[in-house]
């Protein structure tokens, strides 16, 4: 084995003699340069002058932090206390001691307090206990989770579904799983808070377009296309997304899905639709906005929904093609790092899905009631009604806005008067200073449930009308 060793060395020395002089000189210089770099002291530009220990101690002593939170009396004087709900919220709800007709809970299909769901949930608690003791990867997966995911995917007619343990966390985890720093997201300026947090966490460049304004969106897409032409290599690896809601939480409007799908393929921008409110509400069977517009679900890259409103349970989900959804099992923070959905809530959601599936008439009735309520409330002087005509969730705003604070007080007075007449409404809760669009006007969000009768709708409309005078 020594022979080849010697041979190689001999050849090396021989080749050194044979090489031209300039080659040798260059290599020697290179070796000297490398040695110099290795042994020279590293030089760092200091952006600060180092302080001495005593100077630091003096500064520490001098420094006075602000209190962690504002003083208690200030917080209490500005805060609106929570309303006390007694017992089970349902079609009626006991709020602050009064039994009222409930037009505040987003209980569209009236499944709060459904006995069939309660029975299944009870059996599930007996079988599985309350919690799952771990995240999905570490013995937190119960067979009902897998069953619910399959059921949801089958119902919505998409390839795959993934469940989150909290509705808020679904879209807020899904967006940063795909969009990273350097990517571009075109988002509607009226998107809900959960989406805003998802956008913020993604660190991508966010381009907001005017609420539900497809022309503005197309302009912005065109503008981006022109920017892309200047650096096409970078553009070919920059992911672009559009984020919209099926039925907007903040305005009750629906998005123009056909136009969005057209823009998706024209400008090569992936489409994410948040369907927390529209799942179980829009479409002939409650499949959401894709069914409403009769668009094959494969055209939308990802749909994010909630089990907390129409299905009256807890948790959220995302569905879409397997290629897209499977990624969230490793990258969706709210999925990987959180304990899984309690099994009884998954069972409750499955039962609710079955009920919805068996009673497709409910969806028709819901739309009818939503439309009727909007018609009854249309034309109230001083009040502007905002929302898609068939939507069971819509907003009442002040027609001639004065200032945020005064408008809010005006609407709060209406809510209070309605409470006195046993109708429970709510101001659409917003943290004005945390929202990206702090100019969004305050509003009352009216939620119609399918369980309300026509007479009750008329009575409610009259109470609201009287309260605005």
């Amino acid at each position: 084995m020594d022979q080849p060793h010697k041979w190689v060395l001999a050849e090396a020395i021989h080749s050194m003699y044979q090489a031209p002089l300039y080659h040798l000189i260059l290599e020697v210089l290179l070796v000297i340069w490398i040695l110099r770099l290795l042994f020279s002291k590293s030089y760092r530009i200091q952006d600060r002058v180092p302080l001495t220990k005593s100077e630091k101690e003096a500064l520490v002593l001098d420094w006075t932090p602000e209190p962690l939170v504002p003083p208690l009396d200030k917080t209490l004087s500005e805060a609106v206390p929570y309303r006390a709900v007694n017992g089970q919220p349902g079609k009626n709800v006991e709020v602050d001691g009064r039994l009222c007709l409930n037009m505040a809970s987003l209980n569209f299909l009236g499944l709060l307090g459904n006995l069939r769901i309660e029975k299944q949930a009870t059996q599930s608690i007996k079988k599985y206990g309350v919690g799952s003791c771990g995240p999905r990867a570490f013995y937190g997966t119960v067979d009902v989770h897998v069953e619910l995911e399959e059921k949801l995917a089958k119902f919505i007619k998409s390839e795959r579904a993934i469940i989150y343990s909290y509705g808020f966390a679904s879209i807020a985890s899904a967006i940063p799983a795909y969009a990273k720093r350097g990517d571009i997201i075109f988002a509607d300026e009226g998107v809900c808070f959960a989406i805003q947090k998802g956008l913020q966490a993604s660190r991508s460049k966010i381009v907001y377009f005017k609420h539900n304004d497809m022309r503005d969106l197309e302009e912005k897409l065109k503008h981006q296309e022109q920017l892309d032409k200047k650096d096409s290599k970078k553009a070919s690896v920059t992911r672009k997304f559009m984020v919209v809601e099926g039925l907007y939480m903040n305005s009750g409007q629906i998005c123009d899905l056909p136009k969005l799908v057209e823009l998706k393929y024209k400008y090569k921008v992936r489409l994410f639709v948040e369907e927390s409110l529209s799942f179980g509400v829009l479409g002939e069977h409650g499949r959401g906005i894709t069914e409403h517009f009769n668009i094959p679900i494969g055209k939308v890259d990802m749909i994010s929904g909630s089990l907390e409103y129409a299905l009256a349970s807890s948790g959220g989900f995302c569905c879409g093609r397997a290629y897209v959804i499977d990624h969230q099992r490793l990258s969706g923070q709210g999925y990987v790092f959180s304990a899984s959905l309690p099994p009884f809530l998954a069972t409750a959601a499955m039962e609710a899905l079955d009920i919805m599936h068996e009673n497709a008439d409910m969806l028709k009735e819901l739309k009818y009631k939503g439309r009727k309520m909007q018609q009854l409330l249309n034309g109230i002087p001083g009040i502007e009604l905002v929302g898609y005509p068939d939507s069971p969730a819509f907003h009442l705003r002040r027609k001639d806005p004065v200032s945020f604070k005064e408008d809010l007080q005006f609407l709060q007075d209406i809510v209070n008067k309605c409470s006195k007449n046993d109708l429970c409404l709510t101001i659409a809760g917003r943290l004005k200073d945390e929202e990206l669009n702090s100019n969004w006007p305050p509003s009352i969000r009216v939620a119609v449930t399918v369980k309300i009768s026509d007479e009750e709708l008329e009575r409610a409309a009259n109470i609201i009308r009287d309260a605005t005078v």
């Binding site: 220990k53 005593s54 100077e55 630091k56 101690e57 003096a58 520490v60 002593l61 932090p65 602000e66 962690l68 504002p70 917080t75 500005e78 805060a79 309303r83 006390a84 709900v85 017992g87 089970q88 919220p89 709800v93 409930n102 709060l112 309660e118 949930a121 009870t122 608690i125 206990g129 309350v130 919690g131 799952s132 003791c133 570490f138 013995y139 119960v142 509705g167 808020f168 990273k180 809900c192 959960a194 947090k197 913020q200 966490a201 393929y265 992936r270 907390e308 409103y309 009256a312 807890s314 093609r321 490793l330 959180s338 304990a339 959905l341 309690p342 809530l345 429970c424 809760g429 943290l431």
Partner: protein, 525 residues
């Protein structure tokens, strides 16, 4: 003239202050430690054995092979030579920028899928001291999964967060929970601030505050979201957050969303924390050098991947010295540490009011879903008004609240709670001693209920997990991205329900498998 003043002032100040500060503070701190309401701090014993050189070399070689085969497999897949089980992009999406292009998806396809059988094992019944696992069969390097129809019964549970063994679905507590489901229903359909505030939420918050001996608490529907949305309510872009380097992802996300400046200090290293506190205050904000508005130290009670317990005594001393605020995430320590199972403050004998913000979850040992924040009334009322979860996300489901209330009541009033915490502490010590004697590299604190044992090699994770399951033990193996790339480990979560026999059986099985897989790196040392 300026020179004279400067010299005079700086000399006077630096001499006076340095003498005063160092003497005063050190005296104050050392006196404080031994003041009557604080018991002497117990000896802090944590082990982090460094990685053996052979393991680091060969584990890297292991990854290289995985990577090499991954590249070959990807090549075969793209050229349709090998059957493609991965889902592929819709052909209509031609021309779109590729959705995935990073290391994580390569790792997912070529390494993670191989060990998928160790993860996401579905259960057929409530997790408890034993599990009933739905059996699955994998083929094609983890891509094809079939349910065999069998259920593996009575697998000893060494993986769930079931520290006090409360997850069993029998007994009076189940009855009370079912009554709550009947009384309040299962869902809420509204955020807390609108019409989602049930009386059971207030009851839960009262119980939590009394249990932890703090002024008030507030509950939220998800533990992960609690961290993510609370930290931005406390700090903003002019604040400094000093977080332990091994903090949970939820804390990291919360800090990111708050726009505060984040600096990480070495794990449980008080010198590094002190240096960063001192430098932070002295140099102020980067570039402008304006003073920070607030400094928040964020740590966890028990670290879920390291098995270490935070050095609370050291941190509280530093927090007082440097006027910082302290936020502790007690997700894994609540119910597992301390004589009264009150968490890390109980363990160290420190008054819970010394910690500004205590965060905990209801999903670990209760078990259920949700999280809470406990602290002074000012903080809690501020969160009630300012928290995004209370305004936008639905409130906790009533049966889950009831479960948590029942568990807290059981722990505070009955002997059962004390018995369980004692048993848990005993189990932890016995288990660790057994593993250390056998030559495994065990990380963390002797008292922590989380026992990580290092594997290092990605391939050995699969072997260990599979062999343990065959012997009737369910374990959790964790690798990248939950741990560093070369830091693959098996993480045991002990429970008070494990009997001595079960622990002995577990130890002998682990030693068997450890020898088989060659994990006993310290054997013979």
């Amino acid at each position: 003239m300026t020179v004279v003043t400067k010299n005079g002032v700086s000399n006077g100040v630096s001499n006076g202050v340095s003498n005063g500060v160092s003497n005063g503070v050190s005296n104050g701190v050392s006196n404080g430690k031994h003041s009557p309401h604080v018991r002497p701090v117990r000896a802090f014993q944590e082990t982090f054995e460094p990685m053996p050189l052979s393991a680091s070399i060969f584990a890297s070689v292991n990854y290289m092979f995985l990577g090499l085969f991954g590249v070959i497999r990807d090549f075969l897949r793209t050229n349709k030579i090998e059957k493609v089980f991965t889902a592929s992009e819709d052909p209509e999406m031609k021309g779109f920028a590729p959705l995935y292009d990073d290391f994580l998806s390569f790792y997912h396809r070529n390494a993670f899928m191989r060990i998928i059988e160790c993860l996401t094992r579905p259960l057929a019944r409530a997790p408890g001291a034993v599990l009933h696992i739905v059996e699955r069969e994998f083929s094609n390097a983890g891509w094809v999964c079939k349910y065999t129809g069998k259920i593996l019964k009575n697998v000893v549970n060494l993986g769930s967060y079931n520290y006090l063994g409360i997850s069993e679905n029998k007994g009076k507590s189940t009855k009370v929970v079912i009554e709550a489901a009947k009384k309040y229903g299962v869902g809420i359909c509204s955020p807390r601030r609108e019409v989602g505030n049930l009386d059971i939420h207030s009851e839960l918050e009262q119980v939590v505050a009394e249990y932890l001996d703090v002024e008030a608490s507030i509950s939220f529907g998800m533990g992960f979201a609690t961290n993510v949305m609370t930290i931005p309510s406390l700090v903003d872009k002019d604040c400094l957050v000093l977080g332990d380097e091994h903090n949970h992802a939820s804390i990291a996300t919360g800090c990111k969303l708050s726009n505060a400046t984040i600096r990480r200090f070495k794990h449980n290293n008080m010198e590094d924390l002190e240096k960063k506190l001192c430098d932070g205050i002295a140099y102020g904000q980067p570039r402008t050098h304006r003073p920070w508005k607030k400094i928040l130290i964020v740590v966890e009670g028990v670290y879920s991947m390291e098995g270490s317990i935070t050095n609370l005594a050291g941190i509280v001393a530093l927090k007082k010295k440097y006027k910082a605020y302290l936020y502790i995430d007690e997700a894994h320590s609540m119910g597992a540490l301390g004589k009264r199972a009150r968490g890390v403050t109980d363990y160290f004998g420190i008054d819970a009011k010394e910690v500004d913000v205590i965060m905990g979850t209801f999903s670990k040992f209760f078990p259920g879903q949700g999280g809470f924040i406990a602290g002074s009334r000012a903080i809690i009322e501020h969160l009630r008004a300012d928290s995004a979860i209370a305004s936008y996300a639905t409130s906790m489901s009533a049966p889950v609240c009831q479960q948590a209330i029942s568990v807290f009541n059981m722990l505070s009033s009955t002997e059962e709670g004390k018995k369980k915490t004692k048993q848990l502490a005993k189990n932890c010590r016995m288990f660790r001693q057994g593993l250390k004697k056998a030559g495994f590299i065990v990380y963390g604190n002797d008292d922590s209920p989380i026992v990580p044992v290092m594997i290092f090699y990605p391939s050995k994770m699969l072997g260990f997990s599979r062999e343990m399951l065959e012997r009737g033990f369910a374990v959790v193996v964790a690798g990248y991205p939950a741990t560093p790339v070369l830091g693959s480990r098996v993480r045991f979560c002990l429970s008070a329900t494990l009997t001595d026999k079960q622990i002995q059986d577990a130890l002998s099985a682990i030693i068997d498998v450890g020898d088989l897989v060659q994990m006993t790196y310290l054997k013979g040392k």
